[in-house]
């Protein structure tokens, strides 16, 4: 037995990892293999999807019809990306994603989620007072714009397709992808016009 004090999370994590390898449950290097999976879970992938949808109407149509296949077309698939549904923002509708019971996210296109998305504050409040939460986060929505909140309670994983900002005519796909932030693909922000 150890001491009476609660061990730090660091000591606990190291103890479990060490025991799994030492007792032969995991081969040496198995946790590093997971690290390589992690490297593919990046919200910049989602930005690429969005930029393609903004520049290629046929791709946009495929993306809205079958998000899983259209993301896989660009090479973005894997754990927590088994069934992706893309939510199209319009001038009349703003979509917003949350997972009130845990922190489910479309890993292949949104990456592992940020702390604010996993916080009790966001999870508790955004289904009940989305306009107020968005205002506090810097996005004021006119009352006539519908804000539609999607709670990730089953196996569907969502990606918001934000509105293409003004002032980007003639931009290449790469230039557009560089403008897209993770917050816009979760739905708590708009993609700003380039300055």
């Amino acid at each position: 037995m150890g001491g009476d004090e609660i061990a730090s999370p660091e000591a606990r994590a190291d103890a479990v990892a060490e025991a799994l390898v030492e007792k032969g449950h995991l081969p040496e290097g198995a946790l590093d293999a997971v690290e390589r999976i992690e490297e593919g879970l990046d919200w910049h992938n989602g930005a690429r999807v969005v930029a393609r949808a903004w520049t290629d109407p046929a791709y946009r149509a495929r993306l809205l019809a079958d998000g899983t296949a259209a993301c896989a077309e660009l090479g973005f698939e894997g754990p927590q990306g088994e069934y992706i549904v893309v939510l199209e923002d319009t001038p009349e509708r703003k979509n917003l994603i949350v997972c009130t019971q845990c922190s489910c996210t479309a890993w292949p296109v949104l990456g592992l989620p940020p702390d604010w998305y996993k916080s009790p504050e966001y999870r508790a409040r955004v289904v009940r007072e989305p306009r107020r939460v968005l205002r506090e986060m810097g996005l004021e929505l006119e009352p006539e714009i519908e804000v539609r909140v999607w709670d990730t309670t089953a196996e569907t994983r969502y990606l918001v397709l934000p509105l293409r900002p003004e002032g980007t005519d003639g931009f290449t796909e790469d230039q557009l992808a560089a403008l897209v932030m993770r917050e816009a693909m979760i739905g708590v922000a708009r993609v700003p016009s380039p300055t």
Partner: protein, 209 residues
């Protein structure tokens, strides 16, 4: 279970704090915790993702709220590795040099004897009511939609029913439905205007309205 993890609509929380340029992991042990869990599910197959979610839900409520996200991941994974007999708690505590808090014991869901449905029961546009069940074990119905009526806006493919798969009951797959609820149906007269919520619900959670 009607647990602390089911946070949707709970009042009293403050502002959402966004950290600029946030790293994926703040400390190396957070990455270790994440990798332990993914390897335990995907490689070791010591438990499934539904059991994992439920292990976190079973955390002592004060610990749940105080723990950061990856401490919850670590606690859920460690609990299951000990419960399944993969690792020994005393050995882990000796290695860690201190106590290791685990989640509280599981309380099983009763089996409901249903079989796998051949085809989805509801179509887009159907009006459905969420059953007001209060299960002792794992379920994915948030409290804030129980007993409420909404409209099916999308039928998703069949997925394993978590209330069963999290408790070792016979696996069955059934469609999930994206059900849209008007804000006033959920939050009454004080609801924000023009702010519906869509919740993804397994067929067994729903009845015809």
């Amino acid at each position: 279970m009607d647990g602390i993890y089911d946070l949707g609509g709970v009042a009293g929380f403050g502002a959402v704090e966004v950290e600029a340029d946030e790293p994926t992991f703040h400390e190396p042990w957070e990455a270790t915790a994440f990798r332990i869990n993914l390897a335990s599910i995907g490689f070791l197959r010591a438990y499934n993702a539904d059991e994992y979610r439920h292990a976190i839900e079973r955390m002592q409520p004060v610990h749940y709220l105080q723990a950061r996200y990856y401490e919850r991941v670590l606690t859920g994974a460690t609990t299951l590795l000990v419960e399944k007999g993969v690792l020994d708690l005393a050995d882990l505590e000796r290695r860690a040099g201190g106590r290791i808090p685990l989640a509280l014991p599981v309380r099983p869901n009763p089996g409901d004897g249903r079989s796998e449905p051949r085809e989805p029961r509801f179509r887009c546009g159907a009006r459905v009511r969420v059953r007001d069940d209060h299960k002792p074990g794992h379920t994915r119905v948030p409290r804030y939609v129980r007993g409420r009526t909404g409209t099916v806006v999308h039928v998703a493919p069949p997925f394993s029913y978590p209330d069963a798969s999290s408790h070792g009951l016979p696996k069955r797959c059934e469609a999930t439905y994206h059900v849209e609820f008007e804000a006033s149906e959920l939050w009454g007269d004080d609801a924000e205007t023009n702010a519906p919520v869509v919740v993804d619900l397994w067929e067994s959670y729903l009845e015809e309205a």
